[in-house]
Symmetry: C2
Subunit: 260 residues, 2 copies
């Protein structure tokens, strides 16, 4: 794992953070970066609450350079000439969290001329191609943290660098929409899960309680669940069935595009 980097690093060639006066640094230069909004489900244990609902969290990286030095930003970095866009997203995701995504999708390309302007003139222009990713709850629990990497609740973010608040808002909007008509909720869980856990994911993301009976029927008719034959033990009451995601069905319909 290399150092975590954020969007808008000036080094265009081989290694991130190498030189800060490359050819692309000249005035009017246009840089291409890839950033990723990484979502995971976490149970807020700040108050030690036991049966607390899990909520959406995401890791941010503290900027160690102007502009926006000291502000939190999305993990990312310049696109290497030998890697694809999704590869770059996967790489910065791994650099930041040590994790691999269970779901990865391109979100949007942000390229307003003044989006990297922090006030002082002369800043280079950066076009950021942003991805969003989901990581499983079991892996997310052992994600790396450090001085410059911290997880935040998705709905309690501080003022971020650049236009990254808007980017996260858009990623959240997309996630919530997609949650209603696709099967991506599975990507936020572990290998096996109960129907109650799957329902909790939907409730946490969509922000409202769902009827257990109707939810069960909706999931059963989607043909995405495989009964493992096992049950989750250790619960205080009747043990629920454990399911596995049917990997023969894609999480989403990407149309003519190949899956990333």
């Amino acid at each position: 794992m290399t150092d975590a980097t954020t969007d808008f690093e000036p080094a265009p060639e081989p290694l991130p953070d190498s030189g800060r006066d490359g050819a692309a640094q000249r005035a009017g230069a246009l840089q291409l970066a890839v950033s990723t909004v990484i979502f995971a489900l976490r149970t807020d244990d700040r108050f030690g609450a036991q049966g607390a609902m899990p909520t959406l969290w995401l890791p941010l990286v503290r900027r160690i350079r102007e502009p926006f030095e000291g502000r939190w930003a999305l993990p990312g970095g310049p696109l290497q000439t030998t890697e694809g866009l999704a590869d770059a997203a996967r790489r910065t995701l791994g650099d930041t969290t040590g994790l691999a995504p269970r779901y990865l999708e391109q979100l949007y390309a942000f390229g307003d001329v003044d989006r990297t302007a922090s006030g002082e003139p002369g800043a280079a222009r950066v076009v950021s191609i942003v991805y969003w990713a989901l990581v499983g709850s079991d892996e997310a629990a052992r994600a790396t943290v450090g001085q410059n990497v911290r997880w935040f609740p998705a709905d309690e973010l501080p003022g971020l660098a650049f236009d990254h608040n808007l980017i996260v808002d858009y990623a959240l909007w997309r996630l919530r929409n997609k949650m209603e008509y696709s099967r991506i909720a599975h990507a936020l869980l572990g290998e096996t899960f109960t129907l109650a856990q799957l329902r909790e994911v939907h409730e946490a993301v969509r922000g409202k309680r769902l009827d257990p009976a109707n939810f069960r029927r909706a999931m059963e008719s989607s043909d995405a669940l495989v009964d493992t034959g096992e049950r989750l033990t250790g619960t205080p009451h009747r043990p629920p069935k454990l399911y596995r995601y049917d990997t023969s069905v894609g999480l989403v319909d990407t149309g003519p595009l190949p899956h990333p």
Copy 2:
């Protein structure tokens, strides 16, 4: 209007088609281009059929340079450092067709490392941010054409340059999906239109006949139609009402993103 250009032009600075040995031309360089898939509704008059159904057409530009010299490609060009991404799409759209879009949306960023490789090595890598656009049928009728710009039926395209066939397929997929849950169909018509015309748009794009009665109800309940009080005369039979699109309602829901 300047000359029409396609994706992957090597000139990075002020004017398209100026110099072909700029700094970005060096080995391993990474270029950023913006291309646009432009849709319009046209009645195929190649066979002189009178009451023929309108179908989807799109303009392509013939490449006058290697790689893929002579092949048809999407209109586009390098991103200028002083314009936004949507501005670049609008600009190349105007350069190619002389038109302004009634609807414009970012489609996807294509950036596979080998997407610009035509066989011979040494080609620079290009990341293309692709937009898709809809132009009204009245304007589309007076679109400019030329030796190197030609309109094609969207479902009878030849083998295009680069990965442009995939891009068009994806744009078509997105258009068809969005046609079912948004009001973009209006953007393919003129200022005023009849319900039958609006239904023909849906039928042409979605590729199946729709029940006039049910379609009428669906449109009336969408609150996007304004009765102009006028009727379309000159029809052989009962004259239908003319409607106008209610511009106080957006064509689509873009979430937190500003409309382009």
